[in-house]
């Protein structure tokens, strides 16, 4: 058998009601690289990302078929226990949504959920992951203030730290910089590039330049179909499909 990546998607179909949103997607996401999912609005990028950690479960009327293997376990199997799947993946959304609690408690939230109570260990975890999300220096003085008092860019890094604190192997980001100012976006991008040594990162983005800057691997979706995927350099310089070529030139959006 050939080598299996962390995330492997096989014949994935997703319907919302009668509308088919993802059509027979088969895809291996490379480990410890940044994979960018690109494509025009409404093509199913978010849906694909959320089927990796089964957050689409909470959408009403959703039907899913096919397999998504995470570490060789089919997470779409109804018997699969979903919380330990989600624990393997940190998630960043379009806008930062800090939990209604202090900065400290936001980061400690996941570890606490998973049973860590020791105060010293929690302190350690909070500091370590705030550093990893390059937020520590800015907040160490006010770690017990409500998270809502941070700037939007800081909040997004806090959300990153919150996701990292449960020690996932994978980071998912759904347009994680789209609500941020250019400087904050850059910091997040930088952090991602640093993190890819240890994590498999998948981000959705509609900013082609961002994909060019960060991605090692690119997945192009169009109207729910997987048109093309491959190493970023190939996709951007020698796209095989006409659609990809047009999208990259900015002719379709």
């Amino acid at each position: 058998m050939d080598y299996q990546t962390h995330i492997s998607v096989q014949n994935l179909n997703v319907h919302y009601g009668n509308q088919q949103v993802l059509k027979n997607i088969t895809l291996n996401i490379p480990d410890r690289k940044i994979t960018a999912i690109i494509g025009p609005s409404g093509c199913g990028k978010t849906t694909l990302l959320k089927s990796f950690n089964r957050l689409i479960d909470s959408v009403e009327g959703v039907k899913i078929s096919g397999r998504v293997l995470v570490d060789d376990e089919n997470i779409l199997d109804p018997k699969t226990e979903v919380t330990h799947i989600r624990k393997k993946m940190g998630l960043l959304l379009q806008k930062p949504y800090p939990l209604p609690m202090s900065i400290y408690d936001n980061v400690a939230y996941g570890p606490r959920i998973h049973g860590i109570k020791n105060k010293k260990r929690l302190d350690e975890i909070v500091e370590r992951f705030l550093k990893k999300a390059s937020l520590w220096d800015e907040v160490k003085e006010r770690i017990n203030q409500p998270a809502s008092m941070l700037s939007v860019g800081q909040q997004q890094r806090l959300c990153l730290a919150r996701g990292l604190a449960v020690e996932p192997e994978i980071i998912l980001g759904d347009e994680p910089t789209s609500a941020l100012d250019p400087q904050s976006s850059q910091r997040i991008e930088q952090t991602f590039v640093e993190l890819k040594q240890d994590y498999t990162i998948v981000i959705v983005t509609h900013i082609l330049r961002q994909a060019r800057r960060m991605a090692d691997y690119v997945v192009f979706l169009y109207l729910g179909e997987l048109i093309e995927h491959g190493p970023a350099w190939d996709i951007f310089n020698h796209p095989k499909q006409a659609l990809t070529r047009e999208y990259i030139k900015g002719l379709i959006s």
Partner: protein
């Protein structure tokens, strides 16, 4: 070029003016009611000190003694019991509807709960007399090892609790639905279960709003008269247990206004009771509205 005012525009202006006047009239009405009640209760306020009125339980109108304490305590007990019963049930209901039920169930159940609010309170009273009172007399009281006629604070509290279900469920459901889905996702994404998410995140975010819903419920409960009056026993004594009868303020007014008016100061005393009720209800309503407005601003 000057265009003559068209009939359409005249109507538009008139409509807005008329509505403005009506709105102001409604506001003024409350003001006049408070002023009127105050004016009418001045004789009793002049006849004895406030401390005597509010902190004495001696209610002997023939001797000119009007101590409201029994009635105030009656209202507080009945309202308290109603809230204790209603809050947990309403919270669980609205959590179920918001977090677990699918939208079909939700859209079906919501109007049904609102219908509950439209049932005349006499109907609740009759139901209380036929079902709740005998149940307390034959089951609850013997179980507790005491005698009770069934006409008790507990009976009033149960009936009242059911009457304030709709407002509490309605408002807290709205609050829960206003919590952004992404906040739930953020919690689920780190591996929290649905219940953990509700407990640590949704509830915390919704807490002030739920508090407002409860305050709104209390203010409804406070002034509710008919149903309570029919099942609570109406005995003017300070109650000591939920199986004792009580005599809440609204019942006092409803039972006696127009009957004992030959006794000096009696009608003034009842007006004072009405004034207290009105002020408390206004206060609680304003409080809950204030919280709700702040919540709506901050929740997103």
């Amino acid at each position: 070029m000057k265009v003559p005012m068209s009939a359409r525009r005249v109507k538009d202006i008139m409509a807005s003016k008329i509505m403005l006047v009506l709105t102001l009239a409604a506001v003024a009405l409350i003001f006049f009611m408070v002023a009127g009640l105050y004016f009418k209760s001045r004789p009793i306020l002049a006849s004895q000190p406030l401390s005597e009125l509010f902190f004495s339980s001696r209610w002997r109108p023939f001797r000119g003694e009007f101590g409201f304490l029994s009635f105030i305590m009656g209202t507080v007990w009945v309202t308290g019991v109603a809230v204790l019963i209603a809050v947990p049930l309403c919270l669980l209901t609205s959590i179920y509807l918001s977090e677990y039920a699918n939208s079909k169930v939700r859209e079906w159940v919501k109007p049904l709960i609102d219908i509950l609010a439209g049932i005349p309170s006499v109907v609740f009273g009759v139901w209380g007399m036929l079902v709740v009172v005998p149940f307390i007399k034959d089951v609850v009281a013997p179980f507790a090892g005491v005698f009770s006629t069934g006409y008790s604070i507990l009976a009033g509290g149960i009936v009242l609790a059911i009457m304030i279900f709709p407002v509490i469920i309605h408002v807290s459901l709205e609050i829960f639905r206003a919590v952004p889905q992404e906040v739930r996702e953020a919690s689920l994404a780190v591996g929290a279960t649905r219940w953990q998410t509700i407990k640590h995140v949704v509830m915390r975010k919704a807490l002030p709003g739920v508090a407002a819903a409860v305050v709104l419920g209390i203010s409804r409960a406070f002034g509710e008269t008919m149903a309570v009056l029919m099942v609570v026993g109406n005995v003017a004594k300070i109650p000591h247990s939920v199986l004792d009868p009580a005599y809440p303020l609204p019942a006092l007014i409803a039972n006696n206004y127009g009957e004992m008016m030959s006794i000096p100061l009696y009608d003034s005393a009842l007006m004072l009771a009405a004034l207290i009720l009105l002020l408390v209800v206004l206060l609680f309503n304003a409080l809950s509205k204030m919280i709700l407005i702040r919540v709506q601003r901050s929740i997103r």
